[in-house]
């Protein structure tokens, strides 16, 4: 075994002053040599902690070990066994709080860059489909059972892939005109290229034989009871938490105020950055305020910069320590020149005579006693109100479940927060119906939704036996 190496191989990125002007992917990925070198740092622990940190239980030492040997097909096959969407996970999973946080190397130095290696193997397999041997799995004989998956985001796609691999006939119903859920409408091109999402969807459709019904707004055109009556043996709800939240402060309906969802849907799903080549416009001013501190906040702020804004501020009522965004994304945003206005809370959006945003009145905050989330509660400092000029304001304050499905599904119990009640395997209070992802947990991560999709698929499989 090679000598213990505590430093990870750095990954190439577009330089901040270059990338802030373009929509292309920021991270450029490892070369073959870099990937093998990094993989060789792995100690191949007998009791690998990394796997415990993975919501879908990828055999991490298995694929990293194969990669260290330069056996790419083997690495790909091990990876795909547990994860149908590795190119997405390698890019957007918060590895630093999951697999990589459990790596023993992390005790003394830098943990293995598992996410970067996953991305490398996934991208190699996509570029070498024949050689990788992962795109022509032997599908079992059809079981004759039909499963309906509602929503084509990470939970739905994972559940669909696993059930199709078990021989069930799977149909995915998606409300929008493209499949992928948050991966197509929410996460920006510069973090997750849409061609990659499309490739993953194509794999489900062409290789695994999953049917996709797009433009299908469940709860309106059909409902769960009708699906069960129409011969579906089980239903999985992976419809996400799609409804945006606002601050409910005066002036929030002014022109130039976009919910982060609207802002990102225009740019990502509708490609407003290519207007007028694409038909959907967006109007982004010179001074942009994005409210919040999650990954969606960073995504919106960084898009605004790429669309030509001169100054982009993230306005957050707590401090950096409480920010829920991934450290990497916050770091990327800082490098690109995003300004952080911390301990600051907007109290009013100000507009001009034509109804356009012209600024915000904000109040300074200080941290008080911890609240129920365990974070110190921000409290306004009396008399500290001040006004700042902005011409675009993007509240990125989180999302809540869209009530359409629960409302049209009798027998499906929901919580006070509007999320669907489900056990650890996704089983809901309604016979034959499972749920997973943000519709159960409230807004969370791609990988936790995938984990939920995976557990539900196992439970559905058992149910259909």
């Amino acid at each position: 075994m090679a000598k213990l190496n505590l430093n990870r191989v750095p990954m190439n990125k577009q330089e901040p002053e270059i990338r802030r002007w373009n929509p292309y992917e920021v991270a450029l990925g490892y070369s073959y040599e870099q990937a093998v070198e990094e993989a060789n740092r792995c100690l191949q622990c007998k009791k690998p902690g990394c796997m415990n940190g993975c919501p879908v239980n990828v055999d991490i030492p298995g694929f990293v070990g194969a990669l260290a040997q330069g056996d790419l097909p083997q690495a790909a096959q091990v990876l795909w066994k547990h994860n149908s969407l590795p190119a997405i996970c390698g890019r957007v999973c918060p590895q630093e709080t999951q697999c990589e946080s459990q790596c023993v190397l992390g005790k003394k130095g830098a943990p293995i860059a598992i996410g970067r290696l996953e991305r490398f193997v996934a991208d190699w397999a996509r570029a070498n489909p024949e050689e990788s041997g992962v795109f022509n799995p032997e599908l079992p004989k059809s079981t004759g059972k039909k499963v309906a998956i509602l929503g084509s985001g990470p939970a739905g796609l994972t559940c669909a892939a696993d059930l199709a691999k078990s021989g069930h006939q799977v149909t995915v119903f998606e409300a929008l005109h493209l499949a992928g859920g948050v991966c197509v409408y929410g996460i920006p091109e510069f973090r997750l290229p849409k061609s990659i999402v499309q490739a993953e969807v194509n794999y489900l459709q062409n290789t695994l034989g999953v049917d996709f019904e797009l433009n299908h707004v469940m709860g309106r055109i059909s409902n769960v009871d009708e699906l069960l009556k129409d011969g579906y043996d089980a239903v999985f709800l992976g419809v996400g938490a799609g409804a945006p939240m606002f601050l409910n402060i005066p002036g929030e309906n002014s022109k130039g105020v976009y919910s982060a969802n609207e802002f990102l849907v225009r740019l990502n799903l509708m490609k407003a950055y290519l207007f007028p080549q694409y038909d959907t416009p967006i109007k982004i001013g010179k001074r942009v305020a994005v409210l919040g501190a999650g990954n969606v906040t960073m995504d919106s702020a960084r898009w605004a910069l790429r669309m030509g804004a001169e100054e982009v501020h993230v306005v957050y009522r707590r401090t950096k320590a409480e920010m829920p965004a991934r450290a990497e994304e916050r770091g990327n945003a800082e490098e690109e020149g995003i300004i952080f206005d911390l301990l600051t809370n907007p109290s009013q959006v100000l507009s001009d005579e034509q109804g356009w945003v012209k600024g915000m009145e904000c109040v300074r905050m200080e941290l008080g006693e911890p609240d129920e989330s365990g974070r110190r509660r921000p409290v306004p400092i009396k008399g500290s109100e001040f006004v700042v000029d902005f011409d675009t304001v993007v509240p990125a304050l989180g999302t809540q479940p869209n009530p359409l499905i629960p409302r049209t599904t009798p027998g499906l119990e929901t919580t006070k927060r509007g999320t669907v009640q489900a056990d650890e395997n996704g089983k809901t209070t309604k016979e034959g119906v499972w749920a997973g992802g943000d519709i159960v947990t409230g807004a969370a991560t791609v990988i936790s939704a995938m984990g939920a999709g995976k557990r539900a698929s196992a439970a559905i499989n058992e149910y259909l036996k």
Partner: protein, 280 residues
């Protein structure tokens, strides 16, 4: 799916398409809308459904060719398929026997009005129907609406046919006060005018709002409107609201968000083609 099976020009720049989509046709009710996507780079735009034939599996859309997307939709011919059609969206019109219902249809919205008015009629209501347009040649469904109306009126902005403007409705209501009213128009000023006429009579007036929409399913909030001091999403809370509670200025202001971009888009579409053919 989404194949055009019939196409008609109802008036200059007003077109009617019957589109094959059996699932929507089976589910849609009067008052609901659909999101249309013409092509691969197209935007998502809402149109109020103007009719459905579940036996043929078709729905009817009527639109004015004003911007790029509607102009492009107008070029679709029988047999061609739309890139996308999502629906039925929004809540259906509340249909009951209210007594006498005043139904107003402005311009292209006389199409969806006919669909809704037929349902009111079937529920046993008496109908006072009034339709309006900028000028005589833009009036649509005159005969069809007249046929189901107990009283029928026509008005135009320029006075070229019937009454000039909508003020005559004051006299109509003085003569026979209705029990319920429905105001359909894409013009905010017209909707507001009708609602202000019915207000002193105390007639509950429902109006279908047409703000800018994006997904049409409640996930973006582009269509937020203020009704009775509360923010509502027209796509999921509406599209119909109590017209006496709507903040019309906000609605009109937000509808004008992309005036410049809409012009750019429309010009690129028309002039782009012109230049391309000149270069050939």
């Amino acid at each position: 799916m989404n194949k055009i099976v019939e196409k008609k020009e109802l008036a200059p720049k007003i077109k009617q398409l019957d589109i094959e989509n059996p699932e929507i046709a089976a589910k849609v009710s009067p008052g609901q809308f659909a999101i249309v996507i013409t092509g691969g780079k197209g935007e998502r735009f809402p149109l109020t459904v103007a009719g459905a034939d579940p036996s043929k599996g078709t729905i009817r859309l009527i639109f004015n060719e004003v911007g790029k997307s509607s102009k492009e939709l107008g070029t679709f011919s029988v047999g061609q398929e739309l890139r996308g059609l999502a629906g039925p969206l929004g809540n259906p019109t509340e249909i009951e026997n209210f007594g006498t219902v005043l139904c107003f249809g402005g311009g292209v919205m006389s199409g969806p009005l006919l669909y809704i008015a037929e349902a009111f009629r079937q529920a046993g209501n008496k109908l006072i129907v009034a339709i309006g347009a900028r000028t005589s040649e833009l009036l649509i469904f005159k005969e069809e609406l007249q046929a189901i109306a107990d009283k029928f009126y026509v008005c135009t902005d320029d006075g070229s046919e019937g009454y000039q403007g909508v003020d005559f409705l004051n006299d109509v209501l003085k003569e026979k006060k209705g029990d319920y009213a429905l105001a359909m128009s894409v013009a905010t000023a017209t909707q507001k005018a009708i609602c202000e006429i019915t207000r002193p009579f105390g007639i509950k007036t429902i109006t279908s709002l047409t703000p800018i929409m994006l997904d049409g399913t409640g996930m973006c909030g582009a269509c937020r409107v203020n009704v009775g001091g509360e923010t509502k999403f027209a796509c999921v809370d509406g599209p119909e609201f109590d017209g006496h509670l709507v903040d019309w200025d906000l609605l009109e202001s937000r509808k004008r968000t992309y005036v410049a971009e809409e012009r750019t888009s429309s010009l690129c579409y028309e002039m782009g083609e012109e230049f391309a053919s000149a270069e050939k």
